[in-house]
């Protein structure tokens, strides 16, 4: 329900919460934590406060299904490539050359433009030891930054939020989609999922009495209720914050962030037109939210359909065209808005695909693959090596760069976050940002 609540600005909340500090349980999580941070004068240097206008932003794009790396970044002078892919190999004369025998799929022309304008880094041969070929499990490994034989319940971005964004708005992480990805799993649940912008926030009710009581019961009116009135209904739990308090705070977070996002969307528009597909819509919305100064550090969008077991040529071409057109529009939009330097886009897919094409004009699940990093602050170029095609791991590529090296580089060099602490150990840093 959206009520006649005054717009709950962060500043207004801060004022209120300082006054009503004694009633701390009616204050939303992020405000209380912000106050704590303020009182402690940000002694913990890992905690990052952002105003929405200055901090670095990461945009993660998941290419779900296992993107065929070999037909994305193509070793077009290697005969073994054409031998392995007699029907779906991209002919040499169609490949868009980048550098010494490495080129782009013909659908990725606009990435070539980004590459030339110095905004694109390509990390080759990214994977991990003992690769798992299940979509489900390998996605989980990428999302949680775990070892192949290790099960972690918190995501790598969730651990970043836990370590660096305590006390921030819930909108510190924004997902374009109905659900939060596993990468967002955190000790302190953080992040907002935007399915359809129209679905943001609680449904409206036309009955004013109902709306008012809804606000009260959900703690959306800071001075509406005292904890005593319901104390008898709910017991405390071990975390110190009772389940009830946690719920009320989340309700308030949802209300505040929905209102904030709606405001942003009203106040900003796209400077370029985006392709009309899911990824285009998502990136278009993200650009508006960034321009509206939402205090978000991580945006997450996805494009599905990369599981090309059969009839790959057409499908893959369509997917890559959609991807590159959406990304290109996004970059141009942000350039025109003058905020391109504040973002880094990183793509990933759960695995690449088998080197040898299958009998159905497709490819099966494989291992290592390239990923793209793009943005105003990126050091452009090719990183890592194209994995050798003459030395395979039961038909699959050996990885050269652990994906956690990529995460680590982004966390440390771009997000200025303690990468080793977040990822559980140190990984070799790269220099793409």
């Amino acid at each position: 329900m959206e009520h006649d609540l005054p717009v709950l600005t962060r500043r207004a909340f801060l004022r209120t919460s300082l006054i009503v500090a004694a009633l701390s349980w009616t204050v939303p999580v992020f405000i209380q934590q912000t106050c704590m941070v303020m009182h402690a004068q940000a002694l913990d240097s890992a905690v990052q406060g952002g105003t929405g206008r200055d901090h670095p932003i990461l945009v993660v794009i998941q290419l779900a299904g296992g993107n065929d790396g070999l037909n994305t970044i193509i070793p077009f002078e290697d005969d073994l490539y054409f031998k392995a892919r007699p029907t779906i190999g991209i002919p040499k004369n169609q490949v868009i050359p980048l550098d010494k025998g490495i080129g782009l799929h013909p659908s990725l022309g606009s990435l070539k433009a980004l590459y030339e304008s110095g905004n694109l880094a390509i990390i080759q041969g990214v994977g991990y030891p003992n690769p798992n070929r299940s979509h489900f499990r390998s996605t989980e490994i990428w999302q949680t930054a775990s070892d192949a034989n290790q099960i972690l319940t918190k995501g790598w971005l969730g651990r970043y939020f836990d370590n660096c964004c305590r006390g921030e708005d819930p909108t510190v992480g924004v997902v374009l989609g109905e659900q939060l990805p596993e990468a967002f799993n955190a000790n302190v649940p953080t992040g907002v999922a935007i399915g359809r912008p129209g679905n943001l926030g609680f449904d409206r009710t036309s009955d004013p009495g109902e709306a008012h009581l809804f606000s009260e019961l959900n703690g959306l009116e800071p001075d509406a209720m005292s904890g005593d009135s319901i104390g008898s209904l709910s017991g405390p739990n071990n975390s110190g914050l009772s389940a009830l308090e946690y719920l009320q705070r989340t309700a308030l977070d949802a209300q505040v962030s929905a209102e904030r996002i709606r405001q942003m969307l009203r106040s900003s528009k796209n400077e370029v037109s985006y392709p009309r597909n899911q990824l285009g819509n998502s990136l278009g919305l993200i650009a508006r939210l960034i321009a509206g100064s939402l205090p978000t550090r991580v945006y997450y969008a996805s494009q599905g359909g990369y599981d090309t077991h059969a009839g790959q040529a057409n499908t893959h071409q369509r997917l890559l065209s959609e991807f590159s057109a959406a990304l290109f529009a996004f970059c141009n939009d942000l350039k025109r808005k003058g905020i391109f330097d504040r973002i880094v886009v990183m793509t990933f897919s759960e695995f690449g695909r088998r080197v040898i094409e299958n009998a159905n004009g497709g490819t099966d699940h494989g291992t290592a693959a390239p990923l793209f990093v793009c943005g105003g602050g990126v050091n452009p170029g090719l990183y890592g090596k194209q994995p050798a095609l003459d030395k395979l791991d039961s038909g699959d590529l050996f990885y050269g760069i652990d994906f956690r090296s990529v995460y680590s580089t982004i966390l440390l060099n771009w997000m200025k976050a303690p990468a080793g602490k977040i990822l559980g150990r140190e990984f070799p840093k790269l220099s793409f940002v």
Binding site: S134, F136, T153, R196, D203, L217, N237, Y246, L247, T250
Partner: protein, 485 residues
Amino acid sequence: MLSPLTLKRWDFDAAAHLLVRAGFGGRAEEIEKLHALGPAKAISSLVDSQPESYAPPACADPHGQDELRNQLRDAVTPEQKQSVRKLLNERFRYEMSDLTRWWVMRMVNTRAPFVEKMTLFWHGRFATSGQKVRHAYKMWHQNEILRQNGLANFANLTKAISRDPAMMIWLDTVQSKKERPNENFAREVMELFTLGEGCYSESDVKEAARAWTGYRIDKDNQSFRFAPAQFDSGLKTFLGKTGSWNGDQIVDMIVSQPQCARFIAAKIWKFFAYETTDPKLIDALASEFRNVQYEIRPFMKQVFSTQEFYGTEALNSQIKSPVQFLVQAFRTMPIALPESSVLEFAFRQMGQVPFYPPSVKGWDGGNSWINTATLTFRYKLARQLVEGIDPQELGLPKPLAMDMGGIRPATTPALLVDQIVTASDRQQPQNVVEKLFVRIFQCSSKFELATRFREFLSNRSLPLEDSTIRGLAALMMTTPYYQLT
């Protein structure tokens, strides 16, 4: 350490708490009836119930895929193979959402709710996902294994699960060979199912993996088959003991560890009562569990007969799982069950799709059920449960091709107000609040919270109309309190 439940504590709200935790809650009459039995009989009436006979779902046929499998085998061209695979895949997805609805219906309709609650508990413990198993029949079969064994002996349950085809695929026992034993099952059995991390060595994992070789699935009837030629009958040293152990013997040795009782007792306490790290409480529970030789029924009776189970730490302290959220709503209120695609969608949005746990660890539960997105969705769903579900409005994507011939699922009718209140209640707002409150919050309306709702109705014109009463029900359900149990 565990204090026995006193008669003094056994009031209406205690009975309601028992019914909602050992089952999925009930109407005021059901709670009243349970209360009148007195604690011992009330607990027995729930815990001693047996799985009732219940019509199986459509996928409960081991030969259900035979025809398509044969077609796949006989397909000549890649295009033919591809189109059969597509059909198999569609069939799988269709059967899985049908299976989900079948289980939800069973949880809603059963006269043995504790059996289903315990099955749900074990599903989260021996968490297996259709995502990898890819066969609805096997997922249903595992569900039956959990139901049939989940109230008897824990060691036997673990042995039955080790031979369960879905589990064998999920944790790769089917691929384990004498020469190359797969460690996946051996590791998770100890780490996640019985002991917890750090209570065994890497060498124990390797040796146990050798004991679980020779486990295969009979392709003819999709059942467990032991292949002696693939079994490693050599000597193994496990937890310090050497012998030519097989899988069942490994389970016996695991269960003989006191740590196993601690581990399981703490998981049971967390699921049914509240999460605790109090070592005294866990030790006391574990010792009860060992005293009854890991028999689950008598242990659960103990759990429900402790004062602690009815203490302030337990009452209304849990955030409902999405399954509890929906099943409890359907069990306690006259609301029609929507179609399977709607149910599945709702579960996905709330973060718990039965038969699809996110990993072998199961669902984290607790606060992790709730974030801004899941809470917003719960409120939207709660309102629609009361006013009728409009799948499109709920955000349902396009349906599967096989599902209803591509037509969007139908809307469901609104809450049947007349089944909750009488005509004379409509003249007495406090009666309406009372009746809705007990159903919705599963406790008596003596709590302060009920006053808010009485005030809300105080200036409405009488008799109260359906829309007002539904508005009140929706209001009650779009609160933090309703997320608790």
